[in-house]
Amino acid sequence: MRTMAAARDRFAVFGTTAVLLVSTPRALKQARGVLDAELAAVDLACSRFRPDSELTALNAAGGAAMKVSELFADILSAALRAARLTGGDVDPTCGRAITALGYDRDFAEVRAAGDMQPRLTGSVSPVPGWRNVHLDRQRLRVRLARAAQLDLGATAKAWAADRCADAVAARLDCGALVSLGGDIAVAGPAPDGGWRVRVTDDHAAPPDAPGQTVTVQAGGLATSSTTVRAWTVGGRQVHHIINPATGEPAVSCWRTVSVAAGSCVDANTASTAAVVRGAAALPWLHDVGLPARLVRTDGSVETTAGWPSDQGPTEAA
């Protein structure tokens, strides 16, 4: 039976904003408890900025194998799958490249630091690559090649959104939408007409910001953009989406890409890969049948595979 979405919570997490919607108002408090527990566990496993996280320990292991939790193995497995499915365009071994650009602390601090000094010495190079990550799922052991440093940011947030939405819907028997920094997962019965999502550049923008409103019934919707998590290093504007082939921020004809998929982690995988691939993303998304909305740097919009056509005025660049 379908119900109306009736309750909402909003809070800070992972250096961004989480939004929780549930179709049953009385379930909201318990649902928030589910999210708090799940997100705390993901943060402890995967944060690049916590000295006590598993990821920090693994990055410091110097090539030695390390025992990891089942949760960490699940998230790493999702990241490796994303790398495999995109031919390495979404790669978890971007840790050193992103750190070299100064993004080695919570993003609010990076932004507040203003123009940073370049940390790169010598020429940039491709990231080590996901094949340098050896995961033994059965024994819960991971080994990174010595040069490789993990950054699971691209997939961990989306993976967590899927996990939280599934957990809320299953445990509390209600419809749930979980947005973690604009990466959206839905589970359980959707409200009449579906969940209404405003697709735009910045997840923190108001619900009527320039963009397009769509409804989703299931799965995930994710947006990647070069415009929001951006800062300056040595007078140069950089952003957080690394092209693994160069080790540098991706140079793309798209400023923002939104993708709908069967899960949030798949949507995030495709939207990130699309930014990295640039013009080649359009035929790729058509071929794989993923509904997407791609906004060029000049504000013009393309859509693929059943995404509703965007009749609105061209967005300001």
């Binding site: 799922r137 209404r196 910001a209 409103t213 769509v214 495709a270 509703p308």
Partner: protein, 80 residues
């Protein structure tokens, strides 16, 4: 008489051979079942952990694409 004894001896040898083959077949079957059970016990948990092939091998498209809607959203999808 001697011919009858020979026939009985041949028949007895044939019966004994058949019994031996039956026993061997039975034992081979038992060994096969035990081996199958051991393999299942050893690797069964891996099978449960493995994601469905369709999820492992491709980015999964949504059951239905987003539909157009008017007005503001309940939530915003954008970069963070």
């Amino acid at each position: 008489m001697r011919q009858d004894d020979r026939r009985r001896a041949v028949a007895a040898a044939r019966d004994q051979g058949l019994r031996r083959i039956t026993r061997l077949t039975w034992r081979a079957g038992v060994v096969g079942v035990v081996c199958s059970a051991l393999v299942a016990a050893a690797f069964g948990h891996d099978v449960r952990r493995t994601t469905a092939p369709s999820q492992q091998g491709t980015i999964v498209v949504p059951g239905q694409p987003p539909a157009p809607a008017q007005g503001a959203g309940q939530v915003t999808s954008g970069a963070s």
